[in-house]
């Protein structure tokens, strides 16, 4: 075959290309299979949690593991409406999940709004204006993230007790600035830096004030970044356990705290706890779905600078 009428070199080259294409196809096929398997593996904890939330206590503890079972909404009734059907000590647990959910919305929402206001001003200033020791200021914000929470939480507890911020919404919103503002400053700073300086210079020549430059140029152009940062900040606040645990009490109990109260002294109410966990992630899921486009765009937006 190698000595056929086809000009030398042509046929072997076609064969090589074909083999390469096959290899590439095979590689892509295997890659996709691997990614699909990985995707399902990452889904297992969520699926497990969801299925457990639909099981009765007996099915939760069954051995061998029950894949097929009669689903029940009892756990959701208990968690959402305080309606308990089983006669057990755990059934008398009165965890106020709706109340805790509302508290989380107020605290995480309030903290995100306040931090977005303050953090964006700082990020814009650090990105656009030359000032002495600018990097020191920027590092100062980041330093809050370096310090382990327990370094400052005990003094904060004492201070909060003395200034009556303990167990208040305002106190919770303020303490969350410790994690929210550094996140916003450092994320948004790169977005603002990626906007061409000429735009601000032109606006400045036209007489725009710094606030106008921020409002009319920077914020609209950095909208994807704003959306992504706001969502990430909200999630960080929503999931936080330590601050509401140590600086709050019954009146400001958030949903992360309320969920663990299904761990009782005499048994663990896995069904109710997983139902509460599902309820807990719903707002984050909804939020993430609505702004998913912005998150993906936002996370890569600041990566390429002028």
């Amino acid at each position: 075959m190698q000595n056929s009428a086809i000009s030398p070199g042509t046929q072997p080259m076609i064969i090589r290309e074909s083999a390469q294409q096959k290899r590439e196809r095979r590689f892509h096929f295997l890659l996709h299979v691997a990614l699909i398997i990985y995707f399902f593996i990452t889904l297992i904890p969520f699926a497990w949690t969801f299925l457990t939330s639909l099981k009765s206590s007996r099915d939760v503890a069954a051995a061998p593991l029950k894949i097929f079972f009669s689903p029940t909404l009892d756990n959701y009734r208990a968690v959402l409406f305080n309606q308990y059907s089983a006669d057990s000590a755990m059934a008398r647990v009165r965890v106020d999940i709706p109340g805790a959910f509302l508290n989380s919305m107020i605290i995480a929402g309030g903290a995100t709004i306040l931090a977005m206001l303050l953090g964006n001003l700082a990020a814009f200033a650090l990105a656009r204006y030359k000032m002495p020791e600018r990097e020191v200021y920027a590092f100062f914000f980041l330093a809050f993230r370096f310090a382990p929470v327990f370094v400052f939480i005990i003094p904060m507890f004492i201070i909060y007790q003395q200034v009556h911020l303990y167990n208040t919404y305002l106190g919770m919103i303020l303490i969350f600035q410790v994690i929210a503002i550094p996140l916003i400053v450092w994320t948004m700073r790169s977005f603002y830096e990626s906007i061409p300086a000429e735009l601000f210079d032109s606006a400045s020549i036209d007489g725009a004030t710094r606030v106008q430059q921020l409002r009319q140029i920077a914020l609209p152009l950095a909208a994807p970044g704003l959306a992504a940062t706001a969502v990430l900040t909200f999630i960080a606040c929503w999931n936080n356990f330590v601050f509401p645990f140590l600086l709050g009490a019954k009146q400001t109990q958030t949903i992360t705290l309320a969920t663990i109260t299904f761990i009782g002294y005499e048994e663990v109410a896995w069904g109710m706890m997983t139902a509460a966990a599902i309820v807990t992630i719903v707002p984050e899921l909804i939020l993430a779905m609505f702004v998913q486009k912005h998150i993906v765009r936002g996370l890569t937006y600041g990566a390429v600078k002028e």
Partner: protein
């Protein structure tokens, strides 16, 4: 109730309405009568207008107490804002934070002997014996003697490191007690023709016999730092005459008794227990025994409430209880834990706080806690005598529950640990040694190393000399 006929919405509403009506018909008049009767014999209103702030552990006792708080306010005129309730791990952190910083956020709280020793020596808790002795502050109906003396003693301490339990001040009043027992599958043991073992060798032998097919003979806690050495194991250790620490706070876990018990215990778990023993938590042990995977779980007595609950357990009606193994020439033993109510030394109104502790530990509330709230085990002997309690608990574990637990409470249960602040370190290091033995290390060497580490730690902290 089967899974098929579990509550529908309509049935739930009907049931809830009927329940509320029954409560309204039976509970309210008796509540008024009870308050009147209590006021006849004692001035409950002398601290009217005060406030008592509570932090409570997530516990059946707590759940039973919450609906009664308005009755306390009606009786005394003392307000009780909604208490903060947390699971155990978070609860202890929160209490420690409040007490150690002197914040004084809470007036009364739940605790237990091993925990409040640290608070007592730091002056964070208020001695309660002056209140108990004052007839102006304690009702003649209180009947302190009705509370098991061993449990009151467990919450007394003279602040001497290493000794003095049962002496000195009364730091807390017990509201719940757990002891440790062998909970075994009676049907399996009957089929094998064996009785629960009285010695560790017999225990190992029976566990081996009960291991067949899908069933393994034994499950016990195996997670380091999760009470692994502190329940069934330490009870057996005590039953062989072991002593965790001597009065000079020198660790004794590598004594000949300690080595013998550890050797047999770990060997039995290795040959007849779970493969991933080092990760077994208390609830995994409880759930695995309840789903029929094991022949025995040596742990808390009150877990029997779940084992005999057909809604949650596949072994309801098939369980028996027995005391933990012990040496032939030694009495059985059991460690114990009591939840107890204590008062912060920073309580804003100590008399009002005592009124709450007193009321919450009286016969009526304790009986209600057990009958309605499933607070097992009660700490007053009169509660055990109550007809409803007898009816409920009397049938548990095929009738073996009450005799076994009462025998423990009357004769054998005691605090296993020496009063000193480093029991958590000691227990965790002991857990590690048991895991090493289970993994194949020599028992004597593993326990010698653990003892050396504990002693070195205690020396470093200046708790022992030399």
């Amino acid at each position: 109730m089967t899974l098929q006929n579990r509550t529908t919405r309509r049935r739930f509403v009907q049931g809830a309405t009927a329940g509320a009506a029954a409560l309204g018909a039976s509970w309210l008049p008796s509540q008024t009568e009870r308050i009147r009767a209590m006021q006849d014999t004692f001035d409950w209103q002398q601290f009217k207008g005060a406030q008592v702030r509570l932090i409570l552990n997530k516990h059946p006792y707590t759940e039973s107490l919450l609906p009664l708080l308005p009755e306390f306010t009606k009786l005394t005129g003392i307000e009780v804002p909604e208490p903060l309730i947390l699971p155990e791990a978070e609860y202890f952190q929160k209490v420690l934070l409040d007490l150690s910083t002197g914040a004084g956020e809470f007036d009364a709280f739940m605790t237990g002997p091993q925990i409040h020793w640290a608070y007592d020596s730091a002056g964070w808790t208020e001695p309660l014996e002056p209140f108990l002795a004052d007839t102006n502050l304690t009702s003649p109906d209180y009947d302190e003697k009705d509370i098991f003396e061993g449990l009151m003693a467990a919450n007394r301490w003279n602040l001497t490191l290493g000794s003095g339990i049962g002496e000195g001040s009364q730091w807390a009043i017990p509201v719940m007690v757990e002891t440790y027992v062998q909970a075994y599958r009676k049907d399996v043991y009957d089929e094998l023709g064996v009785e629960p073992a009285t010695t560790i060798e017999g225990w190992r032998d029976i566990n081996k016999k009960a291991t067949k097919g899908d069933m393994k003979g034994i499950i016990v806690r195996g997670e380091r730092g999760g009470g692994m050495s502190g329940t069934g194991f330490v009870s057996t250790f005590l039953g062989y005459g072991g002593q965790v620490m001597d009065e000079g706070l020198v660790c004794q876990i590598n004594s000949p008794e300690g080595v013998h018990v550890a050797e047999q215990y770990c060997a039995s778990v290795k040959e007849s227990g779970p493969e991933g023993w080092a990760n077994v938590t208390w609830y995994e042990g409880q759930e695995s025994f309840a789903n029929g995977s094991y022949g025995q779980y040596m742990d808390c007595d009150f877990f029997t409430a779940l084992y005999d609950d057909p809604e949650k357990s596949q072994i309801a009606g098939k369980v028996g209880l027995a005391l933990c193994p012990h040496a032939d020439d030694h009495d059985p033993a059991s460690g114990l834990w009591t939840w107890a109510l204590a008062m912060s030394s920073r309580a804003q109104d100590k008399n009002a706080s005592w009124y709450f502790i007193q009321w919450a530990t009286m016969k009526e509330q304790m009986t209600n806690a057990t009958v309605v709230g499933r607070n097992y085990n009660p700490t007053r002997s009169s509660v055990f005598d109550d007809a409803d309690v007898q009816k409920t608990m009397g049938s548990w574990a095929n009738g073996t529950y009450l005799p076994t637990v009462l025998e423990n409470l009357d004769k054998y249960a005691r605090v296993a640990w020496a009063p000193q602040p480093e029991n958590t370190f000691l227990a965790t290091r002991w857990d590690q040694a048991l895991q090493e033995i289970w993994a194949g290390d020599d028992a004597q060497t593993a326990l010698d190393n653990a003892k050396a580490d504990v002693d070195a730690h205690m020396k470093e902290l200046g708790l022992i000399q030399g």
